[in-house]
Amino acid sequence: MDATLLTQYALAGLVIGAIYCLMAVGITFIYSVMRMINWAMGEFYMIGGYVQYLLIADWLGPDRWYLALPLAIAGVGALGMVVQRVLLRPMFAGGIERLDEYATIVTISLTVLFRNLAVVIFGPYQFSPRDYAPPVQLGPLPVNGSRFVAFLGAAALLGLFAWVVRRTWFGLAIRSVAQNRVGALCAGIDLSRIDMLAFGIGVALAGAAGALLAPVFLVYPQSGALSTVKGFEIIVIGGLGSLGGSIVGGLLLGLVESLGSVLISPAFRDVYGFGLLVLILALRPTGLWGERAREA
């Protein structure tokens, strides 16, 4: 095996891994604040891709792609906040017995809703905005420009996210809600506002992943399904509720998939993730950095 080729595959794996990180961080962030799993994460990814495509192909033109990204992210975030306000906030208002079950049913219905809505509006066709960035030379390796932009964008967003969560008052409020909802409420934090913002930010990360990957992969109604799968694999590998775990898990999964397809066989690419998942669950049942409590 040629070393250059191997490095190239490893690099490609890291690029995809960074995007997986965005999905997984979004899932685990929503989980740690609202104690629910958003099964519709992949559909927000899909919507992000569509918005990016529409902005680039129709409204803004391919030259202003740098404007399209923030707009797509903000749009998906706003949609997420509306969804949270209308469908998920009543979860905490009392009267609903089993929160996790309610959230699971509602978000699974959302996947059906968004996926079929995309078919109704755009048809079952596959779209892809044109490559907007020229290929980049990284040392001896040529890298596809859009992939490079996607990697940089994902890294920048993860950095911004980490800064907000660790360094700002808002991040402190979010971390306190994640630790203890009642305690945070007593300290004067508006829980329903934090919930709404957290859900918006979480799905905006998925939307960002979709928008960044729109020129790399195709945009179509089922495009979110696979990314939901990857996101869940990563949080089980990294541990539910651990942000660092999702980042390491995402990069690890990207690497394993990419190297697995070149070293073993590309046909089973989507099985390697499950293999890694089973391996880690067998060795460490709570994931790499999972919470101690198994009975969520």
């Binding site: 989980y31 629910m36 799993i37 209308v86 469908l87 009543p90 009267g95 609903i96 017995e97 089993r98 996790d100 079950e101 309610y102 699971t104 049913i105 509602v106 699974i108 219905s109 959302l110 996947t111 059906v112 809703l113 996926r115 079929n116 809505l117 078919v119 109704v120 399904a225 799968v229 869940f232 694999e233 089980v236 539910l240 046909a267 089973f268 989507d270 099985v271 499950f274 998942l277 198994r294 009975e295 969520a296």
Partner: protein
Amino acid sequence: MRPPVLIACGLGAAALLPLLLGTYPIHVLTVACYYVILASSWNLIAGYTGLFSLAHHAFAGIGAYASALLAVRAGAPVPAAIVCGGLCAGAAGYGLGSVTLRMRALYLALATWAFAESARIVVSMEYGVTRGDLGLAVPLLLPTSSPRPYYELFLVCAAATVAGLALLLRSRIGYRLRAIRDDETVARAAGVDTVRWKRFVFGMSSGIAGLAGALYGHYVGLLSPAAMQFDEMALIIIMVILGGQRTLVGPVIGAVVVEVASEGLRAYGQLRMVVFALLVLAIMRVYPPGLAGLGRALWTRLRHGQPRRRYHRASGPAT
């Protein structure tokens, strides 16, 4: 009219339907019966026992493939293969139930979902055995292409499933299952062998799903991994929630309404799924008792002039 009379009338009417309808509507109703079995058995595990499994469609697929492979590769007679398919799915469910015993809520949902996805990937990747996405041609159960005898068979199976679940839920086992749902720790303190009954309910509901899947496979004559996609699970959830969770009639109503309506509205394409999803969201948000609760409220109002009481949540006393 008393409920038993009502049920007998309904069954009789359903059995006489083939005299009125053409071949295609009968086929649709046969499929509806298949979904009645799946939805009812999922309601047993998720609604009554509180184990929110997301692998129910995978068990139907496992049953279907086990039975089909036995019949195709080993030349087993079809009825025996169907029974074996059900047993295989039941054993797989018992195994999954044992592995996930200590997981609750979200972890259980994630683990069962991962199991279902892996099962689907294995079926589509092992195409040397299962023919994967090419589809596996399956021998038919009955030597006829008319759906009418199949319809009668599926109707009997669906009725037997619902009746069996009714008996099960009335028995002491039913109380144990509901105790596990309401509070597992308290149930254990009160002497319920939670390990045993959780495994039991996993095996039982998966076995029923596997039998239904096997029957269905030998009815349509073609299997593909597409039937094990997550959309199928979402469909089962939609049926149960629309009809009314934690009621016996709910999944029946939901399955028939969703299947018949989605055939009737086929001209509108995917828009019908959008409508179903919106309906489910509205039901979750505004009226959790679902269609079954609505029907019951109307019935009470018709008989007594006014509603006896309002239903606040779906977990009222089971009938």
